[in-house]
Every structure is written in structure tokens, then in C-alpha cells.
């Protein structure tokens, strides 16, 4: 079980608003996070990853405290090691597909398996600039999975994939997530995009 209680002031084009989230994510569950633009969905994911610190909040992962602002506990992103698929993919232009996965893990068998799942075996020596949008997105997902994360955070991770590829990838990813017992949170505007993937929903709204 992952528990998160977050209170963070965020700046939007409308001025300052408050991001208040109180949620529980059962182990191995896949939760779709949705809400209007600028509501703080990405900020919420970054808080979970330790990339942003809220003014107030607690995060408990399987009973271990990652964040407690009252007790001044705040694990670094390096300690949390969550899998994070960024909206802009955050691929490294200097690394090939293979090098991306090797940067995340030394497990060569896992790398081969991920390349197979993502249908990327023939692109292993390609750099991101020589991949299509869909291939780049797949690489970002595979790189996050290579960490065998307890928590996987996906920010609009299926938006550049066509329907057939998305469905095939979702089937394979779900097997891996089950095997790793990974809890997944996916930000997505479109319900259809996460159909057959997410089993829970969480709406994020701004509080003024």
C-alpha cells in the first residue's frame, strides 16, 4: 500500500492555487490520475518521485516513510528509485537505446526482455533523434521498467502510440508490473488511452 497526503502551493496562469491530494494506492494497482490542465497532476507525480518537495505532506510506501514534512523526513529521488516516464520522455540524446537501458540496470537478461516487449531489438544502436515519436515513448517506458520499480509513474505515457501498439504494449507491461509487484500511477487526459490498463481512478482538483 502506498499512502500520500500532499499539500502544495502551485503557480498557474490564474495565480496561486493549492494542490491537495489524499489518496491510497493498493500494492500492484494501476491508478489513472486525471483533472483539468494545470491542476497539478505532473506536480503530484514529481512529489511522489522526490523531485519536488511540498510545503506539507507524508508519503508512506509499504509502511516505510519516504516523506514527512513534520518530521523533516524527505528521501532523495536517488533513494526512492521510482520509474518515471516524463511527458517529454527525457531521453538522453548522447545514448543509444541499449545504453539507456544499461544506464538504468546492469541486468542484461532484463534488458533483452524489455527490448523484445517494446519491439525495439532492431533499434538498440539507435539514438533517440533517429527514433519515431512512438519509439521514443516506448523507450522511455522500458527505461523506467528497467529499474524494477516499486512505484511507476507515467505522465501521458501512451499518447504517441497507435491503438494496436498500445494494446499490445499494455498487455506485456501488465505482466511485468504484476511480476515486479509494481504500483502504477498514470496521468492521462483520455479515458480510452488507459482502457484495459488502469483499474482505479483519481481526480485531482485545484483548491483556491
Amino acid at each position: 500500500m502506498i499512502e500520500a497526503n500532499i499539500d502544495k502551493r502551485i503557480k498557474t496562469y490564474k495565480g496561486n492555487t493549492q494542490l491537495v491530494v489524499s489518496a491510497q494506492f493498493p500494492e500492484g494497482s494501476i491508478t489513472r490520475v486525471y483533472g483539468s490542465s494545470g491542476s497539478g497532476k505532473t506536480t503530484f507525480l514529481k512529489i511522489l518521485a522526490g523531485l519536488i518537495t511540498p510545503e506539507k505532506g507524508e508519503i508512506l510506501v509499504k509502511g516505510i516513510c519516504w516523506l514527512d514534512t513534520a518530521k523533516k523526513i524527505n528521501w532523495k529521488p536517488q533513494q526512492r528509485r521510482v520509474g518515471f516516464v516524463f511527458q517529454d520522455y527525457a531521453l538522453f540524446p548522447n545514448m543509444t537505446v541499449q545504453q539507456h537501458l544499461e544506464y538504468a540496470t546492469a541486468d542484461l537478461q532484463l534488458i533483452e526482455r524489455l527490448l523484445l516487449i517494446g519491439r525495439m531489438e532492431s533499434f538498440r544502436q539507435h539514438k533517440p533523434q533517429h527514433l519515431s515519436g512512438g519509439q521514443q515513448q516506448r523507450l522511455a517506458i522500458l527505461r523506467a521498467l528497467a529499474l524494477k520499480p516499486e512505484l511507476l509513474l507515467l505522465d501521458e505515457a501512451f499518447s504517441a502510440l497507435d491503438d494496436d501498439l498500445r494494446e499490445a504494449l499494455i498487455t506485456e507491461i501488465k505482466i511485468i508490473l504484476k511480476e515486479f509487484k509494481t504500483t502504477t500511477i498514470i496521468v492521462s487526459h483520455h479515458l480510452q488511452e488507459t482502457a484495459g490498463f488502469a483499474d482505479h481512478n483519481l481526480k485531482i482538483e485545484q483548491e483556491n
Partner: protein, 223 residues
């Protein structure tokens, strides 16, 4: 034509570039992170050598390094170092004078990299230092080349600061740019032309090399 001034110029440029590579890149990284008023002030001070007349900078450095100053007398007393009319003094002055040529392009390139690159690396358990060397540095390679070449070429052509700090001691501080001035002053136009041609050739080769190394870059090497 004596070759010593040319070698001195190359030695000065190499020492300055090496020192600035070591101290300028971490400085550029620090400046490229979140802005604060303090950083703006520090950046403005570091940029001053770009806009100040070299003779002004050289004059103040001469006062600062002179044996009568606090710093100059302290260096002389405890380390037996004199930065005035010495090659070491030229290096220190060149480092200060050329600092913005190393820091500005690198800082600008780091600031333009998406923040998510470093963030992705942190989530993979990599430290800030490892992220810097394995992700950030390789992705600003063309700017590193540009900064290095600009620093080297700028130091090679220094005149005002070098003259104020080092004078023109043959074999010690008389670099190529001073030798050209000296030759013209003595009506030895042929010798001045020879020095100028050598400096021109060296600079041209360096710039050509940078364009070749950066030929696949989207931006021009000197942008």
C-alpha cells in the same frame, strides 16, 4: 623572427584554457541552476572583463598584484611568488580576463537543456556528479568546444592586460601580441608581419577544427 614569443603565447593560452576548463565548468553549472539576486550580481562581475577596456582591468590587476599591495606582499612573503612581470602573473590575469568566454557558452547550454534530463537520471539512482558527467556534459559537447576555443583564441590575442601586468620581458612575458607591437614600434614591419601571419594561421586552424568537430551540430560552433 624569434619563436619564443609564439611559444609563450601558446603556453599562456594552454595554461589559461586548462585552468578555466577546470574551474569554469562547475561555475557555469552553478550559475545555470536556479536564479537568485546573488547569482545575478556574481554573473555581472564575471562578465565585466567582456566590457571593460583591457587596460583598465590590467591596471587594477597591476595594483592588486604589486608587492606594495596586501595580496602582493602576502604572496611574496609566504610563497615567494611575484605576480607582476612574471609568467604566473600573466596566467592569473588571463584566467580572470577570459573567464566569461568559458563560462557564458557553457552556462547558456546547460540552462537550455530540459530539466527532465537530470531529473530522469536522479530517479535512476544517479548522483548529481554522475548525472553531470554522463548526461549533461555529453549533451553540451559543441558548447564545450566553443568555450574552449574561444578561451584559447582570446588568450592568444591578449594585449592590454598582458602589457600592464607583464610588460615585455623577453622569454618571460613578451608574448606574440606584444612582440608585434614592439616590432612595429621599432619600424620592423617585416618581423611584425611574420608574427601576425603565424598568429593568424594558428587561430584559423583552430576555428576550422571546431567547425569540423561541430559539423553535425544544429547550431553553429560560434553561436
Amino acid at each position: 623572427m624569434e619563436w619564443t614569443p609564439i611559444w609563450l603565447s601558446l603556453k599562456l593560452a594552454a595554461c589559461t584554457t586548462l585552468i578555466l576548463f577546470v574551474i569554469g565548468i562547475p561555475l557555469a553549472y552553478w550559475l545555470s541552476r536556479r536564479h537568485s539576486l546573488g547569482k545575478v550580481v556574481i554573473e555581472a562581475i564575471l562578465t565585466m572583463p567582456l566590457v571593460l577596456p583591457p587596460s583598465v582591468l590590467g591596471f587594477y590587476l597591476l595594483l592588486t598584484f604589486s608587492p606594495n599591495s596586501i595580496l602582493g606582499s602576502w604572496l611574496h612573503e609566504y610563497f615567494n611568488i611575484s605576480l607582476v612581470f612574471s609568467f604566473e602573473g600573466l596566467v592569473v590575469a588571463s584566467v580572470i580576463y577570459s573567464l566569461p568566454f568559458m563560462v557564458s557558452p557553457v552556462k547558456s547550454a546547460l540552462a537550455h537543456l530540459p530539466v527532465s534530463l537530470a531529473e530522469a537520471s536522479y530517479t535512476m539512482g544517479k548522483s548529481k556528479l554522475e548525472t553531470f558527467y554522463r548526461v549533461l556534459m555529453p549533451n553540451i559537447k559543441s558548447s564545450l568546444w566553443t568555450a574552449t576555443v574561444l578561451t584559447f583564441a582570446h588568450t592568444l590575442g591578449e594585449f592590454g592586460v598582458v602589457l600592464m601586468i607583464g610588460g615585455k620581458l623577453a622569454g618571460v612575458t613578451k608574448v606574440a601580441s606584444i612582440a608585434i607591437y614592439d616590432a612595429v614600434d621599432n619600424n620592423q614591419y617585416h618581423e611584425a608581419n611574420q608574427y601576425s601571419m603565424v598568429l593568424f594561421a594558428i587561430t584559423f586552424v583552430i576555428v576550422i577544427l571546431v567547425f569540423i568537430f561541430n559539423r553535425n551540430s544544429v547550431r553553429g560552433p560560434l553561436e
